[in-house]
Each structure stands twice: as structure tokens, then as C-alpha cells.
Amino acid sequence: MLEFKNVSKWFNGAQGKVTALKGISFSVRPGELLAVRGPSGCGKTTLLLTAGGLLRPSDGHMSIDGQDPYALSPEMRSRLRARTIGFVFQQFHLIPYLTVRQNILTASLAVPLKEASERTQKLISHFGLDDRADHVPARLSTGERQRTALARALLNQPKVIMADEPTGNLDEDNAQTVFGYLSQYVSDGGCVLLVTHDARAAAHATRSLQMSLGQLVE
């Protein structure tokens, strides 16, 4: 589903070349939750954005669902992202003026779905957000916000979820809930790339990789 082959990424800044990823190779198959763990600044987010088709690698090759996103036009790459990937971030990135229901439905902006409303309602019920469906993010708890973000990521039934520190802002109970949903998604045939510094993630991952200074350490 997701494959990295010797992928490197570096940035040319004012202080010279900064290497964020160095010769990364791994793959994630359906039914697998790969947790990439490491301290802050080790390149986890860069890895996830590169995997998500948002940050072109400087070297190496990668593919999602058998396609190299960076070989596609920007339009096609957007389409591939919309249909194949669901994103979950630590900061949730919900749109502040939309309700829970509307935030989930924003995923249908890129891929119009006939059954978007029905699927949204199912996801609202699945994530226990029925009584919060018409509330804006400012009135939600952090756990509810993350569940809303997770529901948005799942609306288009993506083949892979890329989660960047999804439990970073959550308490123990809410973190367990999020891990539980991700595990369930994997057991339903999906695959997850989870980048986190949370040690609890290992307990829910089918495989775990350690990252340090832009490199994977087994």
C-alpha cells in the first residue's frame, strides 16, 4: 500500500543544507498499523508529509497504492490524496466556523459522494458525537475534536490513514479511544502510518520503527 525506497529529504536554508530524512525505506501493507516513534525534531512529520504526497522527497522513491504521487500532476496528486489518504493531526485542524457535521463533510469537497450525509451521520454515531453534531470546535473537548478529525479522515473510506501525533493533546482515556478506533480500522483491512513519540502507541501497532536524526533505527 505504502512503500518508501531509500527516501531522503533535505532543506536548503539560510544556515545551509539541513537533512530531515536520510535513506528511509519501509513499507506498510493493508491490515498493518506501523508506528514510527522518535523524539521531537527527528523528522517524523516530514516523513508523514512526504508519505502523504505533500512534500516531494529530495531523493529516493515512494509509492501509495502503487502510484508515485510526485510523478502525477498537482491536480491528480490532490485527487489521489482525496481518495486514498486520510489525515489526522495533533492540532486537529478543524475549521472553526463549521459544526462537527460540516467539518466531517469537508472531506467531500474534494471527492463528492452521493451518500456523504448518510456516511457522516454513521461516523458521528460511531464516534459518539451525536449530541455534539451541531457544535462548532470551540465548544468541543479535545477528545471530541480528535474524534471529529478522525471521522473526517474516514469519510472518503481511504486506504491509508496517516496520523501525526494523534494523541499528543489527549488524556489517557481519550488516547486509548483514538488508538482503539485506529486498531479497528486496521482490523477492517485499512492500514495506518502513525508517527508519534507516545510510547503507548507500540501496544496498538502491528509493527513499530524507531526514528532518530532522520534515520530509521530497528
Partner: protein, 429 residues
């Protein structure tokens, strides 16, 4: 969920930003529409003012013309038609003509359709010695005015002396101690005194008027007259050449004399008044044109400045909006929304605020122009009088405002559309 839904909800969420941008567009389009309307109102006021002054002038001129006509009537006949061979020196010295012309001339004149003179009075005058009283008098034989068949009938200026009667000037009837109804003998013929006139202070005081045919018999001038009196109709100072030309075409062997300098002076005064009024109107017209030029110049300087300032303000608000929506754009792009859709969303926002601002600006501009344009003017104005294409102007306002908003917001829109989602998401984590 559609881009349109997202757009409306975002506008409702960031009301202040949107409202400020709309106000900006209102000011820009309002100043433009206001300037156009104000200049149009100025033109209409000018037209009405000049029209009013012209009407006043014409009314005054009509009044003066009527006054002149009445003055001329009071002064009596001012045109004298004499036989061509009459020596004018003799005529001025004797005050009557020594040459004669057929009485039929008066009918020829009255039937000719002449327009420059009216009130035709044939007369036969001669200075004689009244044999019965041994005194010099002026004998005038007259009949009623011959009506001009080609004009509306008018009241005669003099009443005819009936046959067998005589009217006497004041000096005659006083010195002879006669009164109306008395019988008097003139050249062997009996006449009844028809009227005794009040003192006039001229030769009329020693004049005796009898019926024309009787005068012709007494003076042995049957079918002859020596003058036709008339009143000129044109009441202008340069009418005499026209009258002479017209009469010469009808009665070739006559000559025309004009009398009554007071009437001429009055006509000249009237012409002067008319000339001065026309100069005043012309000056008013020039003053209004100057004022229009000043207003036009002011509008041509102020309007672009206002429009530019508003465009800059819209751009600043656009940048603020893009900055506030940085995270939102980042996540939308990450979940697969194309940069083209982001651009459509921002352009639509600017079109919407342009349309709204343009329509409200049109309304504000027109109302402000009507208010300020009529505040110091004496004439009233109605919207319908402005003969402006309101629909076209509204369309231009809305279209122009939308174009202004899109152009002003173009750079922020491009920044939003080209925003790299990775930058946003990497920095926010």
C-alpha cells in the same frame, strides 16, 4: 458540503472583515456613481434654470410688447401714407397733403393681406377759411376705419363721424359757444354738432371733422383722399423699411412716413431690456458651465484617489483574511481540495462583496448626489427627469465594483491558492 456553503459560512463567521470590505466597495462605487449623478443633476438644474430665465424673459418681453402696443394706440396713428408726388416740405409746413390719391387705395390696402400695418383710416384734410365765421380751420373728412379682411377684427381706434354731422375741436366749439346737438353751417351746408372734443393741445383743437363723402363734395375732390392713416404692428425700431417695402408692393405711387418718436423710444428701450436680459442669461450659462467644469475636475481627481484607496484597503483585508485562514487552507489542500477550488472560493468571495458593495454603493451614490446636488439649488428635480440609464448605471456599478474587488483581492487570492499545505502542517505540529 460545497465550496459555496463554505464561502457563506466563512463570511458569516468573519463578518467584520467582510463588512469592512463591502463598505470599502460602497465608498468606491458610491463616489463614482455619485460623481456621475451629481454632474447630471447639475446639467438638469442648469437647463431648468436657463429655461426658467428664458421663460421669464419671454414673459417680460411680451408684457413690454403689449405696453408698447398700447402706448402706440394711445399716441394714435403713427403711419401716414401719402401720394408719391407729395412734397414733404410742404406737408410738414402745412400739416396736410396738397396732392391726392384715389379713395379706393384704402380698400386695395385693406384687401391686400398686409401684415405690417392695420387700422386703415382714409382722410381728406385741408386748411380752409370757414366762410361763415371768417376763421381758419382744418377740415378733415373721414369715414370709419376700413377693416383688414385678413386679420381678426379689432376695435376701431376712432369713431366715425356720421353723415350730416360735424365734430369740433375745443378751440372751435368754445369760441363759437357750440355744443352737441346744435346746428352749424359750413360752406353753405347745415351740419348737426355730433361731438365737442376736450382740449388736446395740438391742431385738433382747431379741426372740424365731417363725413368723408361730404368733405369731398365741399372741397370738390370727389373720390379723392390725401392721406391714409395706419398703425404699425411690428412694434420694433427697424420696422419702417419693412412697412415701406410691403406698401410699395401694393400701392406703388405712394410714400410712407412714420410718426410717434415716443413709441419708437419705447420700442428701443424694450429692445435694450431684451438684449440685457439675454446677456444676463448668457452670463448665467457661462457661470454654470464654469461650476460644472470645477465639479468635473474635482470628481476626476477625487474619484480615482478614493477608488485606489478602497482597492488598497480591500487588498489589505484580503491579506488579513488569507492569513487568518492559513490553517484552514492547509487542511483543505491536504485532504485533496485543489488549488483551483481554493482560488474559486476566494474569487467568489470578492465577486460577492463587489456585487453587494456595488449595488449598495449605487444606491448610496445616487441618494447622496440627489441630496447634495439639490441642497443649494432652487429648482426641484425628479429621478425620472435625469434621463440616465439607471439599469445600465446599476449594472456598471455592480460589474465595476466586482471587477475592482477581484483585482484588488487578486494577490491575496493567488497567495491562498499557491499556499503549500506542507508548510502550514509542518509548522503547526
Amino acid at each position: 458540503m460545497t465550496i459555496w456553503n463554505l464561502l457563506i459560512r466563512e463570511i458569516l463567521h468573519r463578518k467584520v472583515n467582510f463588512a469592512l470590505a463591502v463598505v470599502s466597495v460602497i465608498v468606491a462605487s458610491g463616489s463614482l456613481i455619485g460623481s456621475v449623478t451629481l454632474l447630471r443633476i447639475h446639467d438638469i438644474h442648469t437647463g431648468k434654470l436657463l429655461e426658467q430665465k428664458q421663460a421669464e424673459l419671454e414673459k417680460r418681453m411680451a408684457q413690454l410688447k403689449d405696453d408698447t402696443r398700447k402706448a402706440m394706440l394711445k399716441l394714435g396713428f403713427n403711419i401716414v401714407i401719402l401720394p408719391r408726388d407729395q412734397n414733404l416740405s410742404d406737408w410738414y409746413a402745412d400739416d396736410y397733403a396738397s396732392k391726392y390719391m384715389p379713395e379706393d387705395y384704402v380698400h386695395k390696402l385693406a384687401d391686400s393681406g398686409i401684415v405690417t400695418v392695420r387700422h386703415f383710416l382714409p382722410s381728406l384734410q385741408q386748411k380752409i377759411e370757414w366762410p361763415e365765421y371768417k376763421r381758419k380751420i382744418i377740415l378733415v373728412g373721414a369715414r370709419g376705419e376700413v377693416p383688414n379682411l385678413h386679420k381678426n377684427p379689432v376695435k376701431p381706434m376712432v369713431q366715425p363721424v356720421p353723415p350730416g354731422t360735424i365734430s369740433l375741436g375745443s378751440e372751435l366749439h368754445r369760441s363759437l359757444e357750440m355744443k352737441a346737438g346744435d346746428t352749424v353751417e359750413l360752406m353753405g351746408r347745415q351740419f348737426t354738432v355730433h361731438a365737442c372734443h376736450e382740449e388736446r393741445g395740438n391742431k385738433d383743437d382747431i379741426t372740424a371733422w365731417i363725413y368723408l363723402a361730404e368733405a369731398q363734395e365741399l372741397l370738390d375732390k370727389k373720390g379723392k383722399i390725401n392721406a391714409i392713416l395706419a398703425l404699425e404692428c411690428l412694434c420694433t425700431t427697424d420696422a419702417l423699411p419693412k412697412i415701406r417695402q410691403e406698401i410699395a408692393g401694393i400701392l406703388a405711387d405712394t410714400q410712407v412716413i412714420e410718426r410717434g418718436s415716443r413709441a419708437i423710444a419705447r420700442a428701443e428701450a424694450r429692445t435694450q431690456v431684451e438684449e440685457q436680459a439675454r446677456i444676463a442669461i448668457e452670463k448665467e450659462k457661462i457661470a454654470r458651465e464654469d461650476l460644472r467644469a470645477v465639479r468635473e475636475r474635482l470628481a476626476s481627481i477625487l474619484t480615482p484617489v478614493v477608488v485606489t484607496a478602497c482597492a488598497v484597503w480591500i487588498a489589505i483585508l484580503g491579506f488579513t483574511n488569507v492569513r487568518a485562514r492559513r490553517e484552514e487552507i492547509g487542511i483543505l489542500r491536504a485532504i485533496g481540495v485543489r488549488s483551483r477550488d481554493v482560488m474559486v472560493m476566494f474569487v467568489s468571495r470578492h465577486v460577492l462583496l463587489g456585487v453587494l458593495g456595488g449595488a449598495l454603493g449605487f444606491l448610496a451614490g445616487v441618494l447622496a448626489a440627489v441630496y447634495f446636488g439639490t441642497a443649494h439649488e432652487s429648482t426641484q428635480i425628479r429621478m425620472i427627469d435625469m434621463d440616465l440609464s439607471w439599469a445600465g448605471l446599476l449594472l456598471a456599478s455592480v460589474g465595476g465594483a466586482a471587477a475592482l474587488a477581484v483585482i484588488a483581492g487578486w494577490i491575496p487570492t493567488m497567495i491562498a491558492a499557491r499556499q503549500d499545505p506542507a508548510d502550514v502542517l509542518r509548522n503547526d505540529n
